[in-house]
Amino acid sequence: MHELSIVASVVDSVTESVQAYPGSRVLEVRLRIGALASVVVDSLEFCWGIATEGTPLARSRLVVKTVPVVMHCAVCDKDVNLEGVQSFRCPLCDEPSNDLRQGRELEIESFEIDDEINYESCLEKAEATTEKS
């Protein structure tokens, strides 16, 4: 239900960051979403087109990487991967634990931009400098 607000936050964040690369177009945005984050990836994708319209992210791809839940087992003294989100017991020794080390992520990992425009403008500048000298 809150996927649209999540997508809107992603669009705001990336729009802000892409200002450092004037003239660039965003091609792809990569998210890391924890298995325990309660976010429906299909809904994110469904909202993506509408939410990115009229922004530097328009027509970009959304790539979502699901991050499994990792808990720390005090008995085994190690971080263990959980198969699902139905039981929070160590798969090795069955000890219950609330010490989660991963799995709640709602993170923008990176985005990919088309750098061509920057490249061309750099060339133009370089040529202009050469002509002057």
Partner: protein, 225 residues
């Protein structure tokens, strides 16, 4: 075409998380214990808060409540009957409360200073999914479940139950006619959040309320003063 990858590694809810951290700091400085109550619609959050506010006030504690709903101020009016200051937050369609709504409603709250409170209760919008992502800076997140909802609710909504600090089972007075399997419910809650404190309550008969109030007082006494 030249492309470039820009690493961001930033929380999607960064704005909310940062504001929640500021609020948490403020609650600590002002010495107020803040609880965020989350459940499905109809679990009985308001009915549970009514005697909670009343009883804490009767014991001399200073309490207030913020209550979130999509529309109407019905819940705020019900809770205000306890004599405690109560403010309604209408989200107009948004399915959860966020830190900004809390910050805004604390700011313009006439006659209420955080520093003069012992407890602030935040009754979230009835929803077991979305509120789990939005930190409100609370000290204690309480997940509520009523006997009419089915014992497998914690298994269906693990994100919320796993992030809770305490669980409350409501409407225990009708557990029997509902065929509520108490042992199974307790087992399921523990499966999702091992070792969590669980309170079995009835707002109608008052059963379990004494234990709940003792827990609140114990948590409040742990605050640095």
């Amino acid at each position: 075409m030249t492309t470039r990858i820009v690493e961001l590694r930033r929380s999607i809810l960064k704005k909310n998380d940062e504001l929640a951290a500021t609020l948490r700091q403020r609650y600590a400085t002002d010495g107020v214990l803040v609880l965020n109550l989350v459940s499905s619609p109809g679990t009985g959050k308001t009915a549970f808060l009514e005697p909670t506010l009343r009883e804490l006030r009767a014991r001399g504690s200073r309490v207030a409540a913020l209550v979130g709903d999509l529309e109407t101020d019905n819940d705020a009016r019900r809770l205000a009957a306890s004599g405690a200051p109560v403010r309604q937050i209408n989200t107009h369609g948004i399915c959860h409360l966020d830190a900004e709504m809390i910050d805004k409603h604390l700011a313009g709250w006439e006659g209420v200073e955080l520093a003069s409170l012992d407890y602030l209760f935040i009754e979230n919008v009835g929803n077991l999914v979305c509120p789990s992502s939005y930190d409100l800076g609370e000290s204690i997140r309480v997940a509520l479940l009523s006997v009419t909802e089915g014992e497998d609710k914690p298994l269906k909504y693990p994100t919320l139950f796993n992030s809770a600090d305490a669980a409350v089972i409501t409407k225990m007075d009708i557990a029997e006619p509902c065929g509520f399997d108490r042992d199974l419910a307790l087992k399921n809650i523990n499966q999702i959040r091992p070792g969590i404190r669980i309170f079995e309550t009835s707002a109608k008969t008052g059963s379990g309320m004494e234990e709940w109030l003792a827990y609140l007082e114990e948590m409040a006494s742990r605050r640095p003063s």
